[in-house]
Point group: C2
């Protein structure tokens, strides 16, 4: 078990040693560790060595000149200059928030970036401004469209954060695949079977083998199969890809560069880096914020108090499990799996940093 | 088989006889029949008698004074004055498009409206302006959140239309439930079983009985169960509800007024009518439209040419099936089920209009 402060210190030192400017190292650490706090272990310090390897492979620029390359009063396109997504994304979200302050909403599409950690962090930045925040990103192709055997889309998450008053905010943060790759990685490590409907074989057949992706298999879109609505998960994932990359000039679909350094970048790239999309909507551009937040309290309380299926504890509001996990881990510490611990220790040795 | 022109003439006459101003009758007819053309039969003329009954029950205002009640350069809140959603929605979408022309994007939340037909129609209005269009609406509560036995959300659709150049546009239009109610109605009429995962019983159990909703059952969110990601479908549906109604001051969750006139409106309403949400994003507020559309062509062609699972014909682009159906029905005519024909005939008698 590691304290938040301990992992923060360590991670920040690693980013500093990679050459990130101090405020970037701090920001990247904050974003990365938010995943560990919220219980999204696949997107936290477990990925730190992945970022390091991408940097070593020359695929991450630790001193990016992030800039707006196109804009209107309510929009911007941002070039992340190959920087850490952990740094590019919050800066782009700040631009969306500033624009929302000016004209009511702000929408920012980003190219030339890298993996941005958890989408929820960026969406939640809007909350203190009484704004609704949205964040999405495309990612390495692992998901097959309905009826396809080919990996064409990432698990392309969508996050939406909505402020309330007495109640904690509503924070949806979801992969548009049936299951995010992180869930699969856990099953792979434990050598456990995956539920039917998460993955398909190389020829598109049913499988519960969590290692199937190594043999040409693919993740399935939310909905799993056509009858259950996988064409909807595919469509949503496609929208994320288009907003993040076709709007910004990043790579899309099968061209999205892989997060792992041992896989080559595709040939004949159609854009720059990976893409993100951010939105901020000022609540009082629609309705006085106090009215809105009072009704959000009512919305949340009504859904939280809905009748429960026997054997289940409660109807959850999006963001509940992550908020409970954050409180718990801030107090009791953050558990790391042994391979992650070993990974961090070897990073510590490499950079002369104590875990 | 009825020709588009024949059904158009008839439907327009019915709306005129209800007292709609001529341009509203024409607009409502165009929106309603778009569903029949696109093959979304549940949302077309099959619903005409439903609108008539709601009007007879005093729940639809055929001469609404639609007005903006709150706005910023990039946003507006619209009060539909109890009008037909078929009329209120395209007017609100026009406001979003005008605002996108001014500041890059426009976002409009609507209260005090009624059922707006198919979401795709409204989103597609943006296309001729080289804009991305979005449309969503809340609807009568039929869907149970994950772990709940209670019907708290509508099938709350999301539509996104994206322009391309050589290729036809990308048009996603999806209910955030595992299956839209219209699909269930077809099974009910044919007395066929529903796939497991579309519906639950009153106590939250598995069922294939398409009539289960009459006994207190509920539709399930996209994802069907927690393991397959129903919490994601629930979260998306919740986002639609919040954007459409909590932002605008419409009714949300269990308070959304039913489409059918024989069900009473809930007590202690929390807002006015049902809510919609529209967005328009000018493509060239992000990137020159020609660049964007050339890359959309490439996106669409790449996905259309992806490897196909054996036994399936092709990987589809969202909007493909509806476009093919439209071409077919414009040529060969629109088939109507017998109960729908009888329904229209009795409407014809009521208003002295010939089908």
């Amino acid at each position: 078990m590691y304290s938040y402060q301990q992992l923060f210190q360590f991670t920040q030192e690693v980013f500093l040693n990679m050459g990130c400017p101090p405020e970037d190292a701090q920001l990247a650490t904050e974003v990365l560790l938010e995943a560990d706090l919220r219980g999204v272990d696949s997107h936290g310090v477990a990925r730190l060595s992945g970022y390091v390897r991408l940097w070593e492979a020359g695929r991450i620029n630790v001193k990016p000149a992030i800039k707006i390359i196109h804009e209107r009063p309510g929009t911007a396109t941002v070039d992340g200059d190959g920087g850490l997504g952990l740094v590019v994304a919050p800066r782009a979200m700040d631009i969306a928030i500033a624009k929302a302050g000016n004209v009511g909403t702000g929408w920012v599409s980003v190219c030339n970036s890298n993996h941005f950690g958890i989408a929820g962090y960026h969406a939640m930045k809007a909350l203190v401004h009484d704004m609704i925040g949205m964040a999405m990103t495309n990612a390495s192709p692992l998901v097959a469209p309905t009826f396809s055997t080919q990996r064409m889309l990432g698990t392309n998450p969508i996050a939406v954060a909505v402020p309330a008053n007495r109640q904690p905010p509503f924070v949806a943060d979801l992969a548009t695949a049936a299951a995010a790759n992180g869930k699969l990685e856990i099953l792979q490590r434990k050598n456990k079977k995956a539920p039917i409907g998460w993955i398909q074989t190389a020829s598109g057949g049913r499988t519960s083998n969590p290692h199937e992706l190594k043999d040409g298999g693919a993740l399935l879109p939310l909905g799993s199969n056509k009858t259950m609505g996988s064409h909807k998960g595919y469509a949503l994932s496609a929208v994320v890809d288009i907003f993040s990359a076709v709007l910004s000039g990043a790579n899309y679909g099968p061209w999205v560069p892989p997060f792992v350094s041992f896989l080559p970048v595709a040939e004949n790239l159609v854009g720059k880096g990976i893409g993100h999309f951010f939105g901020a909507m000022s609540v009082d551009a629609f309705r006085p914020a106090e009215d809105f937040k009072a009704h959000m309290d009512n919305w949340i309380e009504t859904f939280r108090n809905a009748d429960v299926v026997k054997g289940k504890k409660a109807v959850l509001i999006p963001g509940d499990p992550e908020r409970i996990m954050t409180a718990k881990r801030l107090k009791a510490g953050i558990p790391l799996l042994e391979p992650v611990e070993r990974d961090l220790e070897s990073l510590g040795k490499k950079f002369g940093v104590q875990l």
